[in-house]
């Protein structure tokens, strides 16, 4: 097993996630794509951990943290989406431009 193969796969997943983030209109789907990207990151971390034979297992620990943060992110993200939906009857991102001045 080579390091590269995992890294390339992770890069591919990450890019697909990027594509999803950019192209999807529905907020829930954007969140899904973000999960994909986070997974790719986790794969990288674990792969590096295995390659470095790290006694501290920091790769895996960080993967765990990523999973935890991802869970938190999904929770908050969905809550926001729900709230926005409640206010605007839509979860489409292109109808949201509150950040415009």
């Amino acid at each position: 097993m080579l390091v590269s193969q995992f890294l390339v796969l992770a890069a591919l997943l990450f890019s697909i996630g990027v594509y999803g983030v950019l192209v999807r209109r529905n907020a829930v789907l954007v969140l899904l794509s973000i999960e994909l990207m986070l997974t790719a990151v986790s794969i990288n971390l674990v792969a590096f951990g295995a390659y470095l034979q790290d006694t501290l297992l920091s790769g895996q620990v960080f993967a765990l943290f990523v999973i935890t943060i991802a869970a938190a992110e999904v929770g908050i993200g969905l809550a926001i989406v729900v709230m926005i939906f409640r206010n605007r009857s839509s979860a489409n991102l292109d109808e949201l431009d509150l950040m415009r001045w």
Binding site: M1, S4, L9, I67
Partner: protein, 172 residues
């Protein structure tokens, strides 16, 4: 390196299968016109990554992934989909933007950059096998990484409270 050697390794064959599966699932996640399908495809992709973790000897992480993601997060997503009445019909226009090509270009460029950087950096470096025990992980987690761990737990707590505050109906 010899591609023949590489492909003949059984672990690598497994990897290729899983990888193809994951990529296919991931592509469906970002292209499926049906939101529920997309969520289910994500389950598949995550499952693949759990399998990869096992291959790399990260047992605990793999199972945690299965439990947390597939068990909890995806359910959460499905609830979200239902609550927001996200369209489940086959109407691709409404789910995607019209300008896909710029997005695809950016994604492709990202991939090219990351992949080429990875390959250039590591070339033929191999990964030694070996399984790390959950116990070791626990030791490390509660000694060296105890402060980040606690911090993450606070983050989770904050997220919990935040979720409640945000999603609950007007307190009146």
């Amino acid at each position: 390196m010899d591609w023949g050697d590489w492909l003949s390794n059984s672990q690598n064959i497994l990897f290729v299968v899983i990888a193809l599966l994951m990529v296919a699932a991931a592509v469906r996640v970002v292209t499926s016109p049906n939101v529920v399908h997309a969520a289910l495809m994500l389950v598949l992709a995550l499952g693949g990554s759990a399998a990869l973790f096992l291959m790399l000897g990260a047992e605990f992480v793999a199972w945690a992934l299965v439990l947390v993601y597939i068990g909890a997060v995806i359910v959460l997503f499905l609830f979200g989909i239902m609550i927001t009445r996200a369209p489940t019909g086959r109407d691709p226009v409404r789910l995607d933007h019209e300008r896909r090509w710029p997005a695809a270009l950016v994604a492709l460029a990202t991939f090219a950059t990351l992949a080429s950087a990875s390959v250039a950096a590591f070339e033929d470096e191999a990964i030694e096998g070996g399984v790390s025990s959950t116990g070791d992980l626990g030791d490390v987690l509660f000694s060296r990484f105890v402060i980040p761990f606690e911090a993450v737990s606070f983050v989770l707590l904050a997220a919990l409270i935040g979720g409640i505050v945000l999603a609950r109906k007007d307190p009146g």
